[in-house]
Symmetry: C2
């Protein structure tokens, strides 16, 4: 078996995946393990804001692992979201807050999952359980992850454990969570650099029901009108996507993370599914959904049920 | 969803599966949950010794679960070792010390696994983390499970965590662990009352690799020759089991718990897997494995790797 243990989050890493792998590295080093945080993809703008704030470098990119490589997974477990070669690695530890699927090991391991809003919330509890000191740097990495995953505690995935962890981490970090958090979230919502084709694919989830294929894509923003300036081109990109992939419905959800609302653009043969599901008419292909921020909890189930 | 949550260990329950489900019931009740321990099969003699010692009844038998039944698994995770209907149950929590395989959920959950010798050792840590009082009854349930799974700390699966837990639980229980432990282990090794069909199913773990099904069953004894007196009938029972369940390999491990050795009987189309894995020829379908006592650490990985 290899010497060094690699710790990493999922592909297309978000702030939780990067920050939690860095914090987990620290946790395991405290236990005397020879570990190194890695990343499985580019650092996004929100995460870069956190790293810049702390004057830290991102972990190195990991493209694949050799057989028998010892690894620790954070913020994911499904092999298709993990590194190339994961099937033949030795998974020693997992810390995660997702369902478990497409995952297996050959040997016993540490596995810690909790149905909370963020992996860093579980890491915070692990530090407490082991009576390990949390320094300012780790506190900011963890609170950034929690802010990102819970949209400043506004997402319906937020639990009391997340609230408590964020509160106590903010004390250690001596930081105003709201000011810092809004700045961080804003940094992640600059969509100007993306073409419309890229925009509708940035975070697109494909689904199927009774043979009918549909896509729900989502972008976060601090200004819905800003995104809607490009509505015509976005619609053209969506129409092309519908045609190329034989989709019945494409929902593009533009989520205002400051006010916790979502504007959707719906196109395709089955747009009445959205109208029926949300009990609201589309106007100009658009519908405004007050209080809706979570695709997983608030959009997908409604569409899936009415499709 | 159902009201009551069921907690149970694996099929063919051993002392850890029964005792840990009873202790987990207590733990979850302390958290205010409406839980009830269940068992997935007959109570073995060793476990009955523990229950008699404490004047307790075994949990009720659970034969299958309805869709959406809320469940907590202890001491196992693989669906083929679990209750009928587990695929459509809502698994809310798992506490286990085995590898993870043939397991998946639709939603996020609590999962706590550690590569220690016994589930009860993890439960002991959970009580400590939550600052919950452990009373004498729970202490004896937990220490019995640890003695059983680690063969009084002699199995190579034993970790420092198990040693520490056993030591501290013995203090709470005010019990001499060696005297109690040997009595308990002996109570479990009287195999005379069992038919050969029962013997090979007393503690049988089913597994699958690349579509090939195999079983590794284990019995503990203080005299291997005593068990081998029934070899012919045991082999006949195994052959029937292989035919009825379309198995590629059946390994029956007879473990001498006083001297820490194992005699295996291997039958099926894939017996060469055992020969290759242990680098030893089968003679008369048998192979003597010196120093081998742990199915999980010393037998299953060898078979799984070579299957």
């Amino acid at each position: 078996m290899s010497e060094k243990i690699y710790v990493f989050g999922h592909k297309n890493p978000d702030t939780d995946s990067i920050c939690s792998s860095m914090v987990m590295e620290k946790f395991d080093k405290n236990l005397g393990l020879d570990v190194e945080a890695k990343r499985l993809g580019n650092v996004n703008k929100e995460t870069q804001f956190v790293l810049d704030y702390l004057g830290l470098e991102a972990p190195d990119l990991l493209q694949k692992v050799e057989e028998e490589q010892r690894v620790v997974l954070v913020d994911h477990n499904e092999f298709d979201q993990s590194v190339e070669g994961i099937e033949n690695a030795v998974i020693e530890n997992v810390v995660d807050h997702h369902r478990i699927a497409n995952f297996q090991t050959k040997t016993p391991l540490y596995y810690r999952a909790e149905p909370v809003g963020c992996t860093a919330t579980i890491l915070y509890k692990k530090f407490k359980e082991e009576n390990m000191t949390i320094d300012k740097k780790e506190a900011i990495l963890m609170l950034s992850a929690i802010i990102s995953d819970t949209l400043l505690l506004k997402s319906p995935t937020t639990t009391d454990d997340d609230r408590k962890a964020l509160e106590e981490l903010a004390k250690i970090a001596e930081i105003d969570v709201n000011t810092y958090g809004i700045e961080m979230l804003k940094a992640g919502t600059n969509l100007d650099d993306f073409t419309e084709e890229e925009l509708i694919n940035l975070d697109a989830k494909r689904s199927e029901k009774d043979g009918k294929k549909f896509v729900i894509a989502q972008v976060n923003t601090v200004s819905i009108p800003d995104v809607l300036k490009r509505k015509e081109n976005i619609e053209r990109a969506i129409e092309k996507e519908i045609e190329n992939n034989d989709l019945q419905l494409f929902i593009f959800a533009i989520t205002d993370i400051l006010n916790s609302n979502t504007q959707i653009i719906a196109l395709g043969k089955e747009t009445q599914v959205a109208e029926k599901g949300f009990e609201k008419a589309l106007e100009d292909n658009m519908m405004f959904l007050e209080g809706v921020v979570s695709r997983k909890k608030q959009i997908l189930p409604v569409i899936d049920k009415n499709m």
